[in-house]
Structure formats: structure tokens, C-alpha cells
């Protein structure tokens, strides 16, 4: 079942830094939100629609619900199988071109880089001969003997590609096709930051509280007037079969099992900002023929491994990539809410491989359902296979 979530207010996806009234007076927002945030928002939405007679805390006392979506300590049968940004065309011109549909947006693979004017695809090259001959040496991590080099001759410095790609363009990067026509969707098209100044209010008197001035930098999506597209989040949800022999539920069955209407309202992120969700059809996953002799795995979402940057040994042979394109790690934690009150606990903070990272392998590999040691139920470690 696919949900399209369209924010109607500015959003706050908090970092790990504490933000407490009267103590820490500044909070800024991450973007995009982490899988922790999105799963929390979706599960809370399911709980709020579960039974009109119950509030969320009461709904979580219903074992029929917790069997399906879990509780504070687990995820039940709830699985996030896709987590991306999405957009749909607003202008008549674009609508004429194709039927209304939500197009998913992905972080660019880290092995696609830019000089600012042109895109370059980086591919593995062996360093072994140079090392053997004593002409080059470097402190690559143990076991890595390949470096990444542009396919074409380079005349300028390369920089990471910052923005998002449409699903079609992503598939182009996964194949061995020409990438010259790929169009990057910039963050300015999707959102802008919105600094806000606020003041704490005393509960009893409703008067401003002295010393409780705070500042937040929020995210405003769909800020352009006359824009071509509206942007939001796309979340794919499945309920795991009760036993391995069971046939997975289709979208309609999943929606019925979760008592979720076709559309409705939800809250998302810090300060419980409003968003509208719609259940939309899930197109079949595109099959794209891969012509290369070897595989690479592209991470569409964050992943985390006990071993750090490299997949853990239980993913063998995926734990021995030739090399990888990985930008700096992201520390992700989160907040474990208590549905009975506004309190909760800090979750464990982990270092995560950023979305867009790419692992290169020698020969073909079989990709697992998810490549992560943590959070595969909630959208960590979603991978796509590519060829080189």
C-alpha cells in the first residue's frame, strides 16, 4: 500500500540536539526526515484511524492493532518497503502530458558526480598494479584495492550531486546508459527553510513565560507560487505474512487490515504539524535490464551496520565490496514517544551510511530485501541493484 503525504504546514524534523523549554532555545530541522520519524508518523496515523471511539493511547491497548503495527517496543507485522520524496504535476501543461500520478524522487547515487556543468559516472579501477609497482600508495581501509574514477576524461573538480532524481533518472544511473540528460531536482524546488521566533506560554495564565524565547528553523514545502509540482513524501507499507507460506496481502487487503481510509489528515514531525495523506495505487516495480558484468548496490535510504561503513559479515558476500562511494556518515537517533503522555526517551544514536551510497562488487550479486543491521522493518537499508 502506498501513501502520499502532502504537508500543509511548515515542518520540524529535529536533530539529536536537545530542545527544552527554558534551557535549549534553538532547534533546526533535518530534511528529509529519517525513517524513524516517518514510521512514527504513519503508525500514529494508523492508530488514530483504528477505532473512532478510542484515542491513540487506547488504540495501542488493542492487541489486534499492536499485532499489525507493533507498539513502543516493536513493529509487529508493520513493514516500510519504500520511503522517498514524491511529487505530482500541478500545471495543466504537465497534466496533459500524463495522467495524474505521484512520481517518486530519490537521492542521487554517490558515484554520480558533477563539475557543475556536466555529470560524471565513477567506476571502480584496480589500484593493485600501482601498489605492486610502488607508484601509488594510500590508506584505503583494509581489503579495499579499488578506487573510483570517472568514465570520461575529466577537466575540472568533481563535487557531490546535491538534490534528488526522478525514478526514471535513477534507473538510468543504475544501468550503463548515458547520464547526460539526467535532470537534478534542487532542494530549492522542494522546500525552503523558514526561521521562526516563538515564546513559551504559561499553562495557567496563558501569558508569555520570561526566558522562554526560542527559535526554530522549520521546513516549508511547496513554497513556490505558480509552481509546476507539489511535493510530499511517499511511504510504501506492507504487513508481513503471518507465516512464511502465506501469500502477502495486496494493497486493498493491507488498507482494510489497517482500517485506513482512502485519504485523511495526520500529523508529522515535531510540533505535530498537519499533513494530508492519500492512499495511491502502487505501480509494479520497474524491471530494468542490467547489462554490465558486475553489480553495485545503491542505498535509497539510510542504513547502519555494526561494522561501520561496510555491510556486516552475515550479509556475505556483500561484506566484501571492491570499493564504495560513501559520503560522511549521518548520526541518527530519535525519540521513543510514550503514547500516554508527551514524554519519552532518547533512542540509541547510530552512525548511518547516507542514502545514495553505493557498494561495488566484482561479478553479479543477489540483493537482499534490505541491507542494514537495524531498522529494516521501518525503511532502513532499502536497496536497488545497478550494473557496471
Amino acid at each position: 500500500m502506498r501513501l502520499f503525504i502532502e504537508p500543509t504546514e511548515s515542518l520540524l524534523f529535529r536533530t539529536g540536539r536537545p530542545f527544552d523549554a527554558g534551557q535549549d532555545t534553538f532547534a533546526e530541522s533535518l530534511f528529509p526526515p529519517t525513517p524513524e520519524t516517518m514510521q512514527g508518523a504513519v503508525r500514529a496515523t494508523i492508530a488514530s484511524y483504528w477505532d473512532a471511539r478510542k484515542n491513540i493511547a487506547e488504540a495501542f491497548n488493542d492487541r489486534r492493532l499492536t499485532n499489525r503495527i507493533g507498539d513502543r517496543d516493536g513493529y509487529g507485522r508493520f513493514r516500510v518497503t519504500g520511503l522517498t520524496l514524491g511529487r505530482y504535476a500541478r500545471t495543466q501543461e504537465l497534466l496533459k502530458a500524463k495522467e495524474w500520478h505521484v512520481e517518486r524522487l530519490f537521492p542521487p547515487p554517490a558515484h554520480i558526480m558533477t563539475t557543475g556543468e556536466r555529470l560524471y559516472r565513477l567506476l571502480p579501477h584496480s589500484l593493485e598494479k600501482d601498489v605492486r609497482e610502488g607508484s601509488k600508495s594510500t590508506n584505503f581501509p583494509a581489503g579495499v584495492n579499488y578506487y573510483l574514477e570517472p568514465e570520461k576524461r575529466l577537466v575540472d573538480e568533481l563535487k557531490p550531486l546535491i538534490g534528488w532524481l526522478t525514478e526514471t533518472d535513477l534507473y538510468t544511473t543504475l544501468k550503463t546508459e548515458d547520464i547526460d540528460n539526467i535532470k537534478l531536482i534542487k532542494k530549492e524546488d522542494i522546500y525552503q527553510e523558514e526561521p521562526r521566533l516563538g515564546i513559551g506560554i504559561q499553562c495557567g495564565t496563558k501569558a508569555a513565560e520570561e526566558g522562554y524565547l526560542y527559535q526554530t528553523v522549520m521546513i516549508r514545502m511547496n513554497h513556490h507560487r505558480g509552481r509546476d509540482f507539489n511535493y510530499g513524501f511517499v511511504v510504501d507499507i506492507q504487513l508481513a505474512p503471518l507465516s512464511p507460506n502465506d501469500v502477502p496481502l495486496n494493497d486493498t487487503q493491507t488498507q482494510q487490515e489497517l482500517h485506513l481510509p482512502d485519504s485523511g489528515w495526520m500529523t508529522i514531525g515535531g510540533e505535530q504539524r498537519a499533513a494530508h495523506f492519500s492512499v495511491i495505487p502502487t505501480p509494479p516495480r520497474q524491471v530494468y535490464p542490467l547489462k554490465g558484468d558486475s553489480s553495485f548496490l545503491y542505498l535509497a535510504t539510510l542504513a547502519t551496520f555494526e561494522t561501520g561503513w561496510k555491510p556486516s559479515p552475515h550479509f556475505a558476500p556483500l561484506d566484501t565490496p571492491l570499493t564504495a562511494a560513501i559520503n560522511r556518515y549521518e548520526s541518527v537517533g530519535g525519540w521513543k514517544l510514550n503514547p500516554d503522555d508527551a514524554k519519552g526517551d532518547h533512542k540509541v544514536m547510530r552512525r548511518c551510511i547516507p542514502a545514495g551510497s553505493v557498494y561495488f562488487y566484482n561479478g553479479k550479486v543477489t540483493s537482499p530485501q534490505a541491507l542494514t543491521d537495524y531498522g529494516m522493518e521501518i525503511g532502513y537499508g532499502i536497496i536497488y541493484e545497478g550494473a557496471w
Binding site: 536533530t15 539529536g16 540536539r17 536537545p18 534551557q23 535549549d24 532555545t25 534553538f26 533546526e28 554517490a110 557543475g116 565513477l122 610502488g134 607508484s135 601509488k136 600508495s137 594510500t138 590508506n139 584505503f140 581501509p141 579495499v144 578506487y147 573510483l148 574514477e149 575540472d156 573538480e157 568533481l158 530549492e188 525552503q192 523558514e194 526561521p195 521562526r196 521566533l197 520570561e210 526566558g211 527559535q215 528553523v217 513554497h223 513556490h224 547502519t304 551496520f305 555494526e306 561494522t307 561501520g308 561503513w309 561496510k310 570499493t323 564504495a324 562511494a325 560513501i326 559520503n327 560522511r328 556518515y329 548520526s331 537517533g333 532518547h346 540509541v348 544514536m349 547510530r350 552512525r351
Partner: protein
């Protein structure tokens, strides 16, 4: 042919390490630590170095780049040097951490095995630093030096495509600074326990400046090392001091930077008999805050010596000039006036603001009134453009070394001379082509001394910085024509010696990490959106409203008076001198959507009309009709020059709104600049 081996070694992460800061001193000490570690890394390769030319920190300005290049006779030597550099960094870092632990936690109640475990894991260099190095063999012959250097740089970039890291789990309450690591704690896990732990830590510290007294600042190990690194004898000795007591660790707060211009005027005014009584009262009341610190703004330190009460004045933090500092809540939270000192707190909450008001009224009333202090300051980040291309184009080892020396000279001589001697600013970092500094918005006293630069405001300051960068480095660059002579935009090597600058102007209470991010983004915008050799300024108003403007330093085919900084500076003077009313800018911005559609002559005519209406009738001789027309024409010419940089087919995408993202019409951009200049002239304060 002589086979030699080029080593390129780097220490990171720079931005992430420095960015986690709550106080300006955290920023500075973070930079200082990285420079100190780089100094340690180079101790065994001094005679092999190509870049930087000088591997030791000069004074208290962190000025070493985060990478070095050295040449060795054998591969083994080069690899051994790289590993020794790693070892030196690890050892120095551990020694500094040990010093900090012993000075900060030795006598603290509540230290537990948990604290030791957290500390050990978080300061572990493997978990913290990114040390990358590459060695490439090459021919020492000058003919091949360029290719050799390029091959080394290329392999280094390839090494950085894989930013490997170790996993590190952080459990429990997070640091209030980094938000990425758990705050150090004792045995208790709850927030109140962690707060109590830090309350106990704060109790053992001598200075109120080091850490919040009430436990609301809860730091992880790395934050702690950055906050207290000035207590480390290892660090002090590394930069030539006997021990940490000799290390001048004072660094001005954002408030002190914001008020520096006011203080510069207050110093001479302090001699006036009309100001002296109010000044005495204010000095007495502000001394109760126990905020005295050594002089931290070099220019003011020099000036203060000329006046009887100068030293007392500059020992006060800038906060002391704002009445809200004396609120009972802040006195309790930040200045240690707990309930045991309730009576003193209440007295100071009453007398403090009165003393400030009396001082400001007194300085308003003298013959040369002192401009009241502004709560806004500027954070500056400058970076050389296309350094990779410039360095990769060197024709010989000699040229490479000459450019290294020029970069070193620029950062060690020119930059401090401008930022700290010619202006009441303070450097956080100045290494090679990188400058990171804090500065007040404007300066109301321009010294008569012709040997000192007449830098009136932060725009003049950054303009001079980039100009001197160009002059110093260009001399050492061997010029070659543009690679592609058919491309009119192709540049020769000397034309590549340019710099881009980002400035964030922020309220002194705005989160420092946010201001740093915005200033860095401004620098990146100058490079990527404004096409380098450019300046971008972002004003972060306390209300949340932002204004962002940008331009090149120079436009071809414009007269000197119409060049951006020259033109904006002339408007700055007109606003400061009350020749023009601020209303002219707002009126023109309202008219901008219509104005952009008019032809050039009509635009100039309307701009002239608005400026004339908003000209102070008492000061018409300061801005005659002819001059006014010329100003209007300059505005239009500059706007056209900005428009010309946008491709004609993109014109429909250009915005008439100042606060729109993306490209705007040149006229909107220029009027936006006037709004920023108005802000610098402090005619538009909240």
C-alpha cells in the same frame, strides 16, 4: 630522471568538528585544536614540505591548513612519514584530552566507570578523525611536476570518495552542543541525573564563562575537550608557551563583537566629564556580573591604553550594554545569583538596566554623540576560488612553493592586519585562502592615521580582504593564457586568483551553529549561484525574516563609482549621515515589479525622483541634484550588469521579489543591497 614520492596528508572533518559550538570560544578553540594537531602531524616532515610553507601556528590565530604536501626520496619514507603523522595526531590529541580530564573532572563528584567508558569511546581518534593520505611516485623534473601534482590530488580525491568510519552507539541523553554523542554522566541515566552531574562539574570551574552553572549545558567528551582545551599544557606548549596559564584563551562573545564599534567610540567619550559619572555607575554595576576578562579584541586593546578607564571598559563583555542581561532570570541562570544571593540579584536587576540607560543617555548627549550599541554582528567566511585548478596548474615545484609562501603571508600578515588591526574584529581561523572571522557591522570612527586602512564597515573589510588575497597570491602565479582561447569566459591563471565571501549578519542571541551554517551557505552561494569572485550577505533578523543578496566584486564596463562595493559604500555614508531617509529603499522595493519592466532612462528617472523626495532638505549640499542623478544611473547600470550575467532565455524565470529563492532581476538585487546597507548603517534596527 629522479623518481620521488609526493605525500598528500589530510586531517578532517573540519567543518563538522568546528561547527558544533555554542560559544564563539568553542569555534575558535575547535579551529585551534585542528591547527595544533596539524602542527603535530608535520613535526617530522618540516624539511620535506611543499605546502604549507610554515608548519607552526603563529600566535593565537589558528592558521594551518588541514592538509600538507611533502616530497620524499623513497616510497617507504613517504609511507612512514604518513604513519608518523597519524601517530603524532593521535598522541597529541590523547595528551590534550588527558590534560582536560585532569583539570575538569579530577575533583568532580559523581564520576563513575560509566563516565570513563563514555570518555574513552568518544575521544577515541579512530571514532573521531578522518585521516586520509596518498603517495604518488613522480619525476622531480619541473616539466612533469604539474602532472605529478595533479595525479596526487586525483588519487587523494579518489581516496575521499570512500569515507569509511567505525560504528559508535550513543545511548541516553545527548549533548546539548553536538546532539550526536551522549552527554557525559555519572551512574544515573535520567536527564535530572545528567543535569546534576554537570551542575557538579560547573561548580568546580573557576570561570562563569566556561560552562552554565545550572547544569543546562551537558557536553559530550569532544565538546568538553573543545570547551576546556585552553587548560591543556600540551596545547599551550605546542604553541610555544610554558604552560596553559600563559595561553591567552579569551575570545570575544557575539555581544562583544556586536558592541565593538560602540566601545571604540565610548573609549574617547569616557574622558568627557558629562559621561564620566554615568560610566562609573555602569562600571560599578556591571562589575557585579563577575564577567571581567582580558582584552579580546586586539584593536580595542590598543585603543584602550590611551584612556584612563579604557582597560576597565574593555574588560566588560558586550552583554553588559544590554538592559535585558540584568533580568532576574538571567542573573540567576547565567551569572550565579542563586537564591542564596537573592537580595543582590534583585538589587542588580533594578540597578543594572538603570545604569545602562544612564550611560546611553550620557553618550547620546555629548557633542559627538556615540551611536548606540547594536545587537547584530557579522560572521565572515572567505575562501579562494578554484584553488584545486590553480594549484594543479603550477608549472614547477618552485612555483608551488612560492604560492604556498604567498598563501602563508596572506593569512599571517594581511588578514590579521585588516581584521584585527584595521578593524575591531577577531579571527577564528586564517589559513591559506580561508578566512573565518567575526566583526562588528560598521565602524563609526575612522582613524586619521593614513597607515591604517580606513575600513568603515564589514563590506569594506571583506572587499579589502579579497583584494589583498588577489594581490599577494597573483604575484607568485606564473601566468598562462586561458586553456580554451575560443571560449570568451575562459580565464588565464592569474585571473583564477579570486575569492568568494559569505557574510551572515545575526542577532547576538541567535544560535551560533546556525549563524555559522548560514555564513558557510552564503559563501557557497557566492561560488555556485553567483559564479565565484563574489560576495553574498544574509541578514538574519531576530524576527526570523531574512534578506539575502549577492554580487560580484567587480563588473566589466562599469565606472569605478558604479562598482558594487563603491556604490553601496556611498549609500552607507548617506544613510549614516542622515542625508537619505531609509524610506527611499522601501519605496523603491515596492515599485520594483513595475520598475524592472521600464527602459533604462525611465528607471533612472524614477529612482532619482524617489531619492530626491527622501533627501534630507537640510543636507542638500551633501548630495546635489547632479550627484543624485548620477547615483540613480549607477544603480541602473549595476542592475543591468547583473542582468547581463543571466542568460536571456532564463529571463522569464527571474523574480521581482527580493525574498524569492533563485535568480532575481538585477534591479531587485541592487535594491536588496541598499536594504542591507541600511541595516549596516543601523537605520533599520528592531
Amino acid at each position: 630522471m629522479t623518481q620521488q614520492y609526493m605525500l598528500l596528508f589530510s586531517l578532517g572533518p573540519v567543518q563538522a568538528f568546528i561547527a558544533q559550538a555554542r560559544k564563539t570560544r568553542d569555534l575558535w578553540l575547535g579551529s585551534f585544536l585542528l591547527s595544533a594537531l596539524m602542527q603535530a602531524s608535520m613535526q617530522n616532515v618540516k624539511d620535506k614540505l611543499i605546502f604549507p610553507s610554515n608548519p607552526t601556528i603563529d600566535g593565537n590565530i589558528p592558521d594551518l591548513p588541514n592538509k600538507y604536501i611533502a616530497i620524499f626520496s623513497t616510497l617507504q619514507e613517504a609511507e612512514q612519514a604518513a604513519r608518523q603523522s597519524e601517530d603524532h595526531i593521535v598522541k597529541t590529541w590523547k595528551d590534550i584530552c588527558d590534560d582536560v580530564w585532569n583539570k575538569v573532572f579530577k575533583d568532580v563528584r559523581g564520576i563513575d566507570a560509566v563516565t570513563h567508558r563514555q570518555w574513552g569511546a568518544q575521544i577515541n581518534p579512530i571514532n573521531l578523525f578522518e585521516l586520509y593520505w596518498v603517495v604518488v611516485a613522480g619525476d622531480d623534473d619541473n616539466k612533469y611536476y604539474k602532472d605529478w601534482l595533479k595525479a596526487t590530488q586525483t588519487l587523494f580525491d579518489q581516496r575521499k570518495h570512500l569515507r569509511n568510519f567505525e560504528q559508535q552507539l550513543e545511548i541516553g541523553e545527548k549533548s546539548t552542543i553536538s546532539g550526536q554523542r551522549a552527554a557525559l554522566r555519572g551512574v544515573g541515566e535520567w536527564r535530572t541525573d545528567v543535569q546534576t552531574f554537570w551542575y557538579n562539574v560547573a561548580k568546580e570551574q573557576r570561570s562563569l564563562r566556561d560552562i552554565s552553572k545550572d547544569g543546562t549545558e551537558r557536553l559530550d567528551a569532544v565538546d568538553t575537550v573543545k570547551r576546556f582545551a585552553h587548560l591543556s599544557d600540551t596545547l599551550a606548549q605546542l604553541v610555544g608557551h610554558k604552560n596553559s596559564q600563559d595561553f591567552e584563551a579569551g575570545f570575544p562573545s557575539t555581544s562583544s563583537i556586536a558592541t565593538a564599534s560602540f566601545i571604540e567610540q565610548l573609549l574617547p567619550a569616557s574622558e568627557s566629564p558629562d559621561v564620566a559619572p554615568a560610566l562609573s555607575t555602569w562600571l560599578r554595576e556591571s562589575s557585579k556580573l563577575n564577567e571581567a576578562m582580558p582584552a579580546t579584541i586586539p584593536l580595542l586593546a590598543v585603543e584602550a591604553k590611551k584612556y584612563r578607564r579604557g582597560t576597565e571598559i574593555i574588560e566588560r563583555d558586550g552583554d553588559c550594554y544590554f538592559p535585558e542581561t540584568y533580568s532576574a532570570r538571567r542573573l540567576e541562570k547565567e551569572f550565579g545569583f542563586d537564591n542564596e544571593h537573592k537580595a543582590e540579584r534583585e538589587q542588580l536587576a533594578k540597578n543594572g538596566p538603570d545604569a545602562v540607560q544612564k550611560l546611553l543617555r550620557a553618550t547620546d548627549a555629548i557633542t559627538s554623540p556615540v551611536t548606540r550599541p547594536t545587537p547584530y554582528y557579522a560572521m565572515i567566511q572567505m575562501d579562494g576560488d578554484k584553488m584545486g585548478r590553480l594549484i594543479n596548474g603550477v608549472g614547477s615545484r618552485g612555483e608551488h612553493q612560492a604560492i604556498s609562501r604567498a598563501l602563508s603571508d596572506f593569512s599571517r600578515k594581511n588578514v590579521p592586519h585588516l581584521v584585527e588591526k584595521g578593524y575591531p574584529g577577531r579571527l577564528i581561523y586564517a589559513g591559506g585562502d580561508d578566512v573565518f572571522a567575526l566583526a562588528p557591522l560598521g565602524r563609526d570612527i575612522v582613524p586619521d592615521d593614513t597607515t591604517t586602512h580606513s575600513i568603515k564597515n564589514v563590506l569594506n573589510l571583506v572587499y579589502q580582504l579579497q583584494a589583498e588575497y588577489h594581490n599577494v597570491v597573483e604575484k607568485e602565479v606564473v601566468n598562462t593564457p586561458a586553456a580554451n582561447s575560443k571560449d570568451p569566459s575562459a580565464k588565464s591563471r592569474t585571473e583564477l586568483v579570486t575569492a568568494s565571501t559569505g557574510i551572515a549578519i545575526a542577532h547576538h542571541y541567535t544560535s551560533l551553529s546556525y549563524v555559522r551554517r548560514v555564513s558557510k551557505e552564503a559563501e557557497q552561494l557566492a561560488k555556485n549561484s553567483y559564479g565565484r569572485n563574489a560576495l553574498v550577505v544574509t541578514v538574519l533578523r531576530r524576527s526570523g525574516e531574512q534578506t539575502r543578496v549577492g554580487c560580484h566584486w567587480h563588473y566589466d564596463n562599469l565606472s569605478a563609482d558604479a562598482q558594487p562595493i563603491e556604490l553601496f559604500s556611498s549609500f552607507y555614508d548617506l544613510f549614516v549621515e542622515d542625508v537619505l531617509s531609509p524610506k527611499c529603499v522601501h519605496t523603491l522595493l515596492e515599485e520594483a515589479p513595475t520598475l524592472v519592466a521600464l527602459e533604462e532612462g525611465a528607471q533612472a528617472s524614477e529612482i532619482r525622483r524617489v531619492l530626491t523626495r527622501q533627501r534630507n532638505p537640510m543636507k542638500e549640499e551633501r548630495l546635489t541634484d547632479d550627484e543624485l542623478l548620477l547615483k540613480a544611473q549607477h544603480i541602473v547600470k549595476l542592475a543591468q550588469a547583473m542582468n547581463a550575467e543571466n542568460q536571456p532565455d532564463k529571463e522569464q524565470d527571474m523574480s521581482v521579489e527580493l525574498h524569492a529563492e533563485g535568480k532575481r532581476y538585477g534591479l531587485v538585487e541592487v535594491l536588496g543591497w541598499l536594504l542591507v546597507v541600511l541595516f549596516l548603517a543601523r537605520k533599520e534596527q528592531e
